[in-house]
Amino acid sequence: MSSIPHDHAAGHDVGHEHAHHPSGITRWITTTNHKDIGTLYLWFSFIMFLVGGVMALAIRAELFQPGLQLVEPEFFNQLNTVHGLIMIFGAIMPAAVGFANWQVPLMIGAPDMAFARMNNWSFWLLPFAGVLLLGSFLAPGGAPSAGWSLYPPLSVQTGMGMDMTIFAVHIMGASSIMGSINIITTILNMRAPGMTMMKMPLFVWTWLITAYLLIAVMPVLAGAVTMLLTDRHFGTSFFNAAGGGDPVLFQHVFWFFGHPEVYIMILPSFGIVSTIIPAFARKPLFGYASMVYATASIAILSFMVWAHHMFTVGMAAAGQVFFMYVTLLIALPTAVKVLNWVATMWKGSMIFEAPMLFAIGFIFMFTVGGFTGLVLSLVPVDIALHDTYYVVAHFHYVLVAGSLFAFFGGIYYWLPKWCGRMYDETLGEWHFWTSFVFFNITFFPMHFLGLAGMPRRVPDYATQFTDWNMVASIGAFGFGLSQALFLYIVLKCIMFGAPAPARPWEGSDTLEWTLPSPAPYHTFETPPQVR
C-alpha cells in the first residue's frame, strides 16, 4: 500500500488541485482525505449511537414496571448485549477515531494521515461490521445474549448470531488496529518542523497513547473471540470445562483486553477536555507535562488491573489484594488530571458556552464515576456489588457523562472549523442542560438500586425496586429526546449556521485555528513553522 497519498505526490501544483475529486457518493467511497474520513467516522458513530440508544430505550421501557410487558426475556438479553457492543465498538470508538482523523493532522501541521488509502479502508470496514452485528438479530436463535463481554459457557452454546458477532468483532478490531497504526505513524513522522513531542497539543498526546493501547490489546481480543469460535465449531476446549478447559480463562483473556479498552474509550476525551478548558478559561493548560505523564501512567497501569472485573470467580486472596491496590493506584494519575483541569479554570476568565459546559459537566460527572469506581475496586464491597445496578451506574457515569459528553463538547468546539458555520449557541446550551439533567435522572437512581441489591441484566425485578426504575426510565427517554435536539442543532448549523470566523474562540491557540473556516480540503501542504 502506498504510504503517501497520490494527491500529495502531486503536491507541487497546489491550489489548482482542490476541486479535483469525485463528487456525490463516489467521493465518500473512494476518499483518502482525512477530513472526509473523519466526517464519515463521526456520522457513522452518530447513527450507531442512535441505534444503540433505541435499544437502551427498549430496555428502559421494559424496566419501567416490574413484570414482563414489552419484550421476552431472551430478546431483552439480546438487546442488552448488542446495546453494549454497539455503543462501545460502533459509537464511542469510531467517534474518537473520527476526531483523530479530523484533528490530528490539523493540530500537528501535517497534510494528511500517513497511510491515506489504508485510512479509507479502516473506515469502510466498519459499516460491514455494523451490519453483521445488527444482522445477528435475524439469525436463528437471535443476537448474542451473553452480555457484551461474551462470557462462555453461554457464548459457546448460543446460535449463529454469536458467530456473526465474533466476525463483526474481528472486523472492527482490524479497523481499529489499522486506524491506530495510521495515527501513530502520522504523529511520530509527520509533525510540522519545530513541533517537538512536548509541544504537541494534549489531544494529540492522548490519542498517541490510546493508539498504542489499541495495537496492544485489540489483537488479544481477536485471539479471545477466535478461541470462542474454535470452541464452538472446531472441537477445541479452551473454555469448556468438560474438555479440560476453563471458562474463567476467557475472563482473564477478555479483561486483559477489556480494561485497557475502557481507557481507550476515555483518553481521547481527556484530550478533548484538555483542549476546551484552556480555550474557555483563557489560560494555558495547567501542568502540561504532568498531564502527559499522568496519561502514560494510566495507560501502563491499565495492563495490571484486569482481574478487578472478576473478584468473584474464586480468586486467591493474594490476587484480590494485588489487583485491588493497583486499581486504587490508578486514582492518583487520574486525580492529577482532574486537579490540573480545575487549576486551569482557577482564576481564569471563563466563558460558559456549550463546549465549556460539556467540558465542565464532564469533569464533574467523570469524577463521580471515578469515585464509584474506587468504591468498586475494594474487594469486600465489590463482592457485594458485583453485577448489580451500582456497576451499571458507575460505568455509565464514566462512559456517557465521561466520553460522550467530551465528544459533544468537542463537536461544538470544532464544528465552526469543520463546516465553516456557527451552531446555535442557545440550543447548544439547552442540549447541555437537558442532557445533564436527564442523564442524572436516569443513572443516579441506579446507585440506589444497586446498593439495594438489584442485579443487572434482568428484564424483571422485585417490586421494591419499582420507584427508582420508573424514575430512571423517565430520565432515559428525556435523555434520548435531548439527543434528537443535538441532531437538529448539528443539521441546522451545517445548513443555516452563521459564517464562522477563522478563530471563533479567542482562547484557542492550536494550529487548526490558523486556517480559514471551513478548513480547506487540503491543508498544510507546506508545513507551518512551529516556534
Binding site: 500529495h8 505526490a9 513522522n189 495495537i215 488479544v220 485471539g223 482473564h252
Partner: protein, 178 residues
C-alpha cells in the same frame, strides 16, 4: 517539501508500519500464550489440580452426621454409555468409600476419553478428597468394551455442618488422536 523529503517520509512511514504490524502479530500470539501460562499458574498454585490424588490429613470419622452424595454421569458428544451403579449414597464424613461407574463404548472402533469432575455446590469441591479415580487418567476402550471403574474418596470431616448434600458430576469427553 521536495521529492527526496517525500521519499524519506514514505520510507520511514513504511518502516514504522512494519514495526507496529509486528507488535500486532506478537500481541495476537500473546493472547494464545495466556492459555498455557494460565494452566501453569493454576498448576503452581494448585487452584485447578483435578488429576492427582488428594492428601487426607484428618481420618477421624464423624458419626454424628451423614452426608447424602448424588452421583451424576454425562458424556459430551461421545457415543458411550456412562452411569453410576449406585446413584445415591449416604456416608459419614471421614469414612473411606468406594463407588463404581460403568462405561461402555458403543462404537465399532477403539476410543479414548477423559472424565472431568464437577461439584455442586462448588464449595464442596475442597472437602471431597479423591484417593483414587478413573478421572486421573485417560481411559481407552476397545470396540464395544464395557468396564466398571471405581472412585475411592473421603469426605473431609471439616465439611461445614449445613452442607448435607453433595453432587458429584462427571463428564466424559473424547481425547482425539489416540
Amino acid at each position: 517539501m521536495n521529492h527526496t523529503g517525500f521519499d524519506d517520509l514514505r520510507q520511514s512511514n513504511r518502516t514504522l508500519l512494519f514495526k507496529l504490524g509486528f507488535v500486532v502479530v506478537v500481541m495476537f500470539g500473546f493472547g494464545f500464550a495466556l492459555v498455557p501460562f494460565y494452566d501453569q499458574i493454576c498448576k503452581v498454585t494448585g487452584l485447578r489440580d483435578i488429576d492427582s490424588p488428594d492428601r487426607v490429613e484428618n481420618s477421624q470419622v464423624d458419626r454424628s452426621r451423614t452426608v447424602r452424595l448424588e452421583f451424576d454421569a454425562n458424556v459430551r458428544k461421545l457415543p458411550w454409555t456412562f452411569r453410576p451403579l449406585a446413584p445415591v449414597v449416604s456416608v459419614h464424613p471421614g469414612e473411606v468409600t468406594q463407588v463404581v461407574y460403568e462405561v461402555e463404548n458403543t462404537t465399532d472402533r477403539p476410543m479414548t476419553g477423559q472424565a472431568i469432575p464437577s461439584y455442586g455446590p462448588q464449595l464442596a469441591a475442597e472437602y471431597f478428597k479423591k484417593l483414587d479415580c478413573f478421572c486421573f487418567a485417560k481411559q481407552s476402550f476397545g470396540p464395544h468394551e464395557k468396564r466398571q471403574m471405581p472412585v475411592v474418596f473421603v469426605i473431609d470431616p471439616r465439611l461445614p455442618r449445613d452442607l448435607n448434600t453433595i453432587s458429584l458430576s462427571y463428564t466424559f469427553f473424547e481425547v482425539e488422536g489416540n
